[in-house]
């Protein structure tokens, strides 16, 4: 679907949807370290301009980095080029910020990701701290440069359960959406 195939009013609708969903920024495409840096920089400046509290800013920043770098490391990079781009978006309400990522993953990865997040969601702050320390000590840096700590850190820093879903695309691929909510209070 190209911009030539539908009315330009579609852009107005997208904007409306974003506003109604409280999404303050959004990036869709292929992710890279450069994109990560740009998105962080944009958001930092945005938060400074809005006068967001230092504590909240730091927590959101922490969660953003892990989320963005997870997309880079785990986004689908196979032969399919149609409909495989990733999304990163930030929502803001009076009560909290939502850091949301979406990317295509292989179906054979779903079980591992799901059980990891479910395990993390079952732990309290002390449990998360213990798990973080244990994984950090035992892990080695993976092929894609990860330490297996991203989800745990996102849960710790956000102080809330991680929300997620998998939407099937075909028998090889699904779309994985992850949301971390950070309270707006200092």
């Amino acid at each position: 679907m190209t911009i030539a195939n539908f009315p330009l009013s579609f852009i107005n609708e997208i904007n409306d949807t974003m506003i109604k969903s409280n999404l303050i920024m959004s990036y869709v495409g292929d992710f890279s370290q450069e994109i990560t840096k740009t998105v962080l920089s944009m958001t930092e400046r945005n938060f400074d301009a809005e006068g967001v509290g230092e504590g909240v800013k730091k927590k959101v920043f922490n969660v953003m980095v892990e989320s963005l770098q997870n997309i880079c490391k785990h986004q689908y990079s196979g032969e399919e080029t149609e409909g495989t781009s990733s999304i990163f978006t930030i929502g803001a309400t009076d009560l909290h910020y939502s850091v949301i990522s979406g990317n295509v993953i292989h179906n054979d990865k779903i079980d591992a990701v799901q059980s990891r997040i479910d395990q993390i969601n079952s732990l309290d702050a002390d449990g998360l701290k213990a798990l973080y320390k244990e994984v950090r000590l035992k892990s080695t840096i993976s092929e894609v440069g990860g330490a297996g700590l991203g989800f745990i850190d996102m849960a710790r820093k956000s102080g809330n359960k991680l929300e997620y879903r998998f939407d099937t695309i075909n028998n090889e691929l699904s779309f994985f959406t992850l949301l971390a909510k950070i309270s707006n209070k200092e």
């Binding site: 840096k37 920089s41 927590k59 980095v65 840096i141 440069g145 330490a147 700590l149």
Partner: protein, 124 residues
């Protein structure tokens, strides 16, 4: 021994490992795309340093932020330094943190608990 000096960037920390001028510091932000690639020279330098360490080395950490992969590498660095006493050297870690940044303070406390080297938390 040749110094390892790297300027800080948007995603990598400043590194000063200089025996001659007695300056040892890791500061700024650490979120490199590939932590192994970035920190390998640091680990290599420390291996060499440990062959004949100073009587007293003070290594300052002044990090504004580090990602989880960096957290692993920082632990690797600290654990590597534990062997300094076997070679007759001493080391004191100075973990600087913004007193308003409870996460950075807690990170320092966690590292201090994990390693046997002298570890000082320094509010900025």
């Amino acid at each position: 021994m040749e110094a390892l000096i790297l300027a800080g960037t948007e995603d990598t920390p400043k590194i000063i490992l200089d025996k001659a001028s007695n300056q040892f510091e890791i500061s700024g932000r650490s979120l490199p795309e590939d932590v192994s690639v970035f920190y390998q020279p640091v680990l290599d330098w420390l291996d060499k340093y440990l062959e004949s360490p100073l009587d007293q080395m003070e290594l300052a950490f002044k990090l504004e932020y580090f990602n989880t992969a960096s957290s692993k590498l920082l632990l690797d660095i600290l654990m590597k330094l534990e062997s300094v006493t076997e070679k007759g050297g001493n080391i004191n870690i100075k973990w600087h943190y913004d007193p308003k940044d409870t996460d950075m303070q807690e990170a320092g406390e966690e590292y201090a608990d994990l390693v046997s080297i002298s570890f000082e938390l320094v509010p900025m």
